[in-house]
Structures are given as structure tokens and as C-alpha cells.
Amino acid sequence: MATTSERIGPTERVQVAPARRQGVGRYRAGRISLYVVLAVLGIVAAMPFVWMILSSFKTAEEIRRIPPTFWPEQATLDNYRTILDDPELPLALFYRNSAFVAVMNTLATLFTGSILGYIFAKFRFRGRQALFWFILATMMIPSQVTMLPGYLILLQLNLLNNLWGLIVPSFVDAFAIFVMRQFILSIPNDESSSARVDGASEWRIYRSVVLPQLGAPLATLGMLTFMFNWNAYLWPLIVLTEQNKRTLPIILTWYSTQHSSQDNLVMAASVLIVIPVLFVFALSQKWIVRGLTLTGGR
């Protein structure tokens, strides 16, 4: 931390010095207690995850013990073996379902968000304002309102109980268009103009001039979209009814109600489903953090 004395001139330092000398002891005590408080809060915040991971290594007998143990007495991998061998729980299939939906939605959102954001930022055409306001307005409508007709529309299109039912309706995403537009507004027009003079097609300008400048917002938006879809629960719960079509969050609730008396298995399943993605995204949280602070989006 920069101290005050580094920043002020010599005359001021003379005036401040006596007060500071008294304060040094108190300052150090303050720093230590700050770290102690933060460490305690951090431990409390991490505790549910720690408890889940520790419990996943306990035996069926130990997990039922009253009062519960904290550290597993005989750590075992049996719970994981049971889950991975369970023919009713083909985890690879559910990972594939979740990944398919999340990747397709992310790609679609990045494409439509960037190209429509580009059009709203850099072109003028009739109805532009009205259309943009409409897109902004749809963001204010809670998903609980549109999910009922959304279900009925998928029923008509015969997309219920189909992974495409989770992808097709979210092809055009209002939030993505808004974020990309805001970013593209700040990009200067010089390069596009000179590409135009050189005779490049409009599509080519989007692809080779505009898109390469969108790396940072695309990465952030991509991660947010991926996480949102990967964790989505309510909409998949409505759309998917057949077991083998389901995504990971739904399978996790199904598994936990099936094995409600075997929390050791449920905890191991939770670890397998929650932790890997958590790990991947913790490593790249810089992008997510940057995106959140850019947009304030949820």
C-alpha cells in the first residue's frame, strides 16, 4: 500500500509526522485484524464446498453418524466408483447434453449478438430506433412470463423433449446485442471505410475488420452465456421430460431425490457435476469479472 508520506511534499510531512508515529502501532494492529477477519469470512464462505468434498469421501455408515464427523475417518473412493458404474446414470451422456446446449447457444449468441450489435451501432435504417427499444424492452420481461407461451410454441413446433428446444428460442439474445452494440460504438470507422474503398463486401468487413476487434467482449460474453446455459434449470426442466435428454442440473436433482438417504453418493455426484466447471472458470474468472464490471449484467 502506498503510504501517505510518499505522496506529500516535505513540508507537509513535518506537520503530519507526530500523528503518524502514534498511529503506526494501531495501524499494524488494524492490518492484522483485517487479515484475520477476511480469513475467517473466507473459511466460512468456502465451508459448504469443503464439506461437500469431504463428505463425498465418507462411507455410507459414517455419513449417517450423529453428530457428523468433519474429516472422513476412512477416506474412500467407493462413492465415485458406484456413481461411475451406475448404468442408470450415464454421466458422459449428460455431460454431452449439457455441453451441446451450452456450446450451441454460446456460438449462436456470439454470432447474432456481434452482427446485430454491429448493425445497430454502425448503420442507419428505417425502424432502427423502434427495433432497438423493443429489444431493450424484452430484457425487462421476467422469464417466468414468457416461459408459458414459450412452452406452447415449442409444443407447436414439436421441439419439446428435444435439446434443440433449448437452443432455437435463444438464438437472438437481447442482452448480447446490447452489450456488443455498446462496445462497437466505441470502435472507429476508419478501417471499415478504407476496406469499403478497397471494394470489400459488407459481410467481409464484418468478418475481417469488425470481428477481429471484438476479442475481449466476445470472450466475456461467451463465458457468461456458457455458464448461464450450463447451469440453467427451470427452462430445461420444462422442455425436457425424457431421462436421456436431460442436462446435468436436472439429473443432479433427480439423482438426489432417488438417493435421498445416501448423502455420500449425492455429495460425490455433486462434486462430479459442480466442481469441474467451477475449476475451469475460476481459472478464467478475469474475463467474467471484466464482463460483469463492464455491463453490471446478471
Binding site: 500500500m1 501517505t4 464462505a45 448493425i119 425487462m140 469499403r196 436433482t253 457435476i273 474468472q285
Partner: protein
């Protein structure tokens, strides 16, 4: 040559290639408009229409969106029924009243508690050494990335009456075997609020504080150190600096964060469904859960649509307040 045509136009961009540009804009925009007509506009119009019909997806109804026919028009009946406070009100009305109460209590508790945790925490994390800052930030941010279903299951197990971590810790500390059913005993009420609702609240706060934390840390970093230094030189204590310098500068961010937090608190579904399933005795039956059950369990989609319109109205009023307040955001 494009220059020549472009001269005099407000935007030189359109110079000379208007045809190609128009085709490009139309080629992208028209499919998008067609798509949004089906997947954005239609659901909104249809949702509001449903609220005026006694609609069930099991009945065919008329060819036009299934409205009419076996799914008769009932006008404002659903909304009139919502204001029925008599003793013999239908069960769905009393469930709706419960849901409104639960949701309002939840949302209005979430916001102050969230801010009371995230603001000081952000200030603390911001003032530690840069080397350890990312560690703390990651710990508090991780739950944001976790699936809320996973969060619900983890917390359900932490609060398990016999084998849970919380009761186990209380037993250790007090020496008395404690088996409190935090999320399933309807008789547990604290300050007029069901303990089960408070349990969901704690889990939600745990999952949600990472958002505001990140936003506040960024806002704190945006305040120039020289402003704070000036106050310290003038003899202000750390608390006075925070109270009279930092806090006022953060006000726009706090306002935005609190409104976003409240809007999302009104729409929480996953925790209520997985952690408590609305129980015990509907004590955690939130509006989103009420809508889901009416629509997809009881097949009462008309009623569910009417409830969703009420939810929309609440969120809409708050969003309006947001824009109104944020318009004055630069008064400092």
C-alpha cells in the same frame, strides 16, 4: 469515387455503396425480426392474452393460439379473484397471497443484507495486499459460477437435521445434541419470518454476493487514491474517509447494484424448488414457484399467466424506479 457521393452526407459510411449496405442490413435484420416476432414478441403478447382466459394446454381450444373454445375467455376474473381476501377464497388465491408475501419478504431482505455484506467486504478486499487479493476474490466469487441446483443440494445437506454440518457444529460447541430441522419444521419462526425462508435466504446470499462484490471492488478501484489521501492529510480517520468520501462516490453504483439485486431476487426459482420445494407448508412458496406449479403441475396456465403478469408488474415498477433514479446519477 465513393468519396464524391459521400460528401455532404451526415455519415460518410453510406457513400457510394448504399445498395450493398442496404442489402447487408436487410439480409441480417429481416431474419432477426422474423425470428423475434416468433420467439420474443409472440410470447409476450400471448402471455398477456393467456391471463384473460381459462387456459389449459390439455384442451385444444380454438385454432387461434388455442384461445377460446374449451379455453373460454374470462376477462378480468383472474385478477378479480386475486383480490379475494374472504375466508372461503379458493386455494389458488390463498397460495397466490402466500407467494406474494414470501417473495416480497425475500426480496426486501436480500437487498439490505447483500449490501451490508458486500460493501464492507469489498472495502476490506480492496485494501489487502495485491498478492492475496485474487485469493479472497475467488473464494467469494466461486459460488456465483456454481450451478444453483448444486448450491441448493449442498446447503440442504449442510442444514440436514441429523447429519448436517450446522447442527453438528452447534452440538460440538454447546455439548448438547442439536437436531434442528432448519428447512422442514414449519413451527420455526424468527421475528415473524419462517426459518426455512431465512435458510433459503442465507444460501442465496452465499451464492449471490460475488456479483456485487466484484462490481463494488471495481468501483472502489475507480476512486482516485489522491482523493482519499487528501482527506487523510486533513485529519480524517479511516471511517470518516469511508463514510464521507468513498460512500458518496459509490452511491450510483450502490443504487444500480441494489436494484439489479432486487430484480433478480424476485425471480429466484431454483433454490426454492430444489432446497425446500416451497415447503414447509408453503412457507417458501415464491411467486416463480407458484407460476411453475400452476402452469405445469396443475395445468392452470391461464391463472399462472395472470400471476406472471403480477410478477412482471412488480419488476416493471422497480425497473422504472431504477431509470428514474439513475437519471440523476451524476449529481455528485
Amino acid at each position: 469515387m465513393s468519396e464524391a457521393i459521400g460528401v455532404g452526407r451526415r455519415r460518410r459510411w453510406f457513400g457510394g455503396r448504399e445498395g450493398a449496405q442496404k442489402r447487408f442490413v436487410a439480409g441480417v435484420t429481416l431474419p432477426a425480426v422474423a425470428f423475434m416476432a416468433v420467439f420474443s414478441l409472440l410470447p409476450i403478447v400471448w402471455a398477456f392474452a393467456l391471463a384473460f382466459f381459462d387456459f389449459s394446454p390439455r384442451r385444444a381450444g380454438s385454432p387461434f393460439l388455442g384461445l377460446g373454445g374449451d379455453n373460454p375467455f374470462v376477462g378480468l376474473e383472474h385478477f378479480k379473484a386475486m383480490t379475494d381476501f374472504s375466508a372461503d377464497q379458493p386455494i389458488q388465491v390463498s397460495q397466490f397471497h402466500t407467494a406474494v408475501k414470501v417473495t416480497l419478504a425475500f426480496a426486501f431482505l436480500v437487498v439490505p443484507l447483500n449490501l451490508a455484506i458486500t460493501l464492507p467486504l469489498a472495502a476490506m478486499i480492496e485494501s489487502v495486499h495485491t498478492r492475496v487479493k485474487p485469493i479472497f476474490r475467488t473464494i467469494f466469487f466461486l459460488p456465483v459460477l456454481a450451478s444453483s441446483v448444486g448450491v441448493a443440494i449442498i446447503w440442504g445437506f449442510v442444514l440436514h437435521p441429523q447429519n448436517g454440518l450446522l447442527n453438528g457444529a452447534i452440538t460440538r460447541i454447546t455439548g448438547k445434541t442439536t437436531q434442528i430441522a432448519w428447512i422442514s419444521d414449519p413451527s420455526l419462526v424468527y421475528l415473524g419470518i419462517p426459518v426455512a425462508l431465512l435458510a433459503v435466504l442465507v444460501a442465496y446470499l452465499w451464492q449471490d454476493i460475488g456479483y456485487n462484490l466484484v462490481i463494488f471492488i471495481a468501483a472502489l478501484q475507480a476512486i482516485p487514491q489522491s482523493v482519499k489521501d487528501a482527506a487523510r492529510v486533513d485529519g480524517a480517520s479511516a471511517w470518516q474517509t469511508f463514510r464521507h468520501i468513498t460512500l458518496p462516490l459509490l452511491k450510483p453504483t450502490i443504487l444500480l447494484a441494489s436494484i439489479l439485486t432486487m430484480i433478480s431476487a424476485f425471480q429466484v426459482f431454483d433454490l426454492f424448488q430444489v432446497m425446500t420445494d416451497g415447503g414447509p407448508q408453503d412457507q417458501t412458496r415464491a411467486l416463480s414457484l407458484d407460476i411453475y406449479r400452476n402452469a405445469f403441475r396443475y395445468q392452470q396456465m391461464g391463472w399462472a399467466a395472470a400471476v406472471s403478469v403480477v410478477l412482471f408488474a412488480i419488476v416493471f415498477v422497480i425497473s422504472l424506479a431504477q431509470t428514474r433514479l439513475l437519471r440523476n446519477r451524476w449529481e455528485y
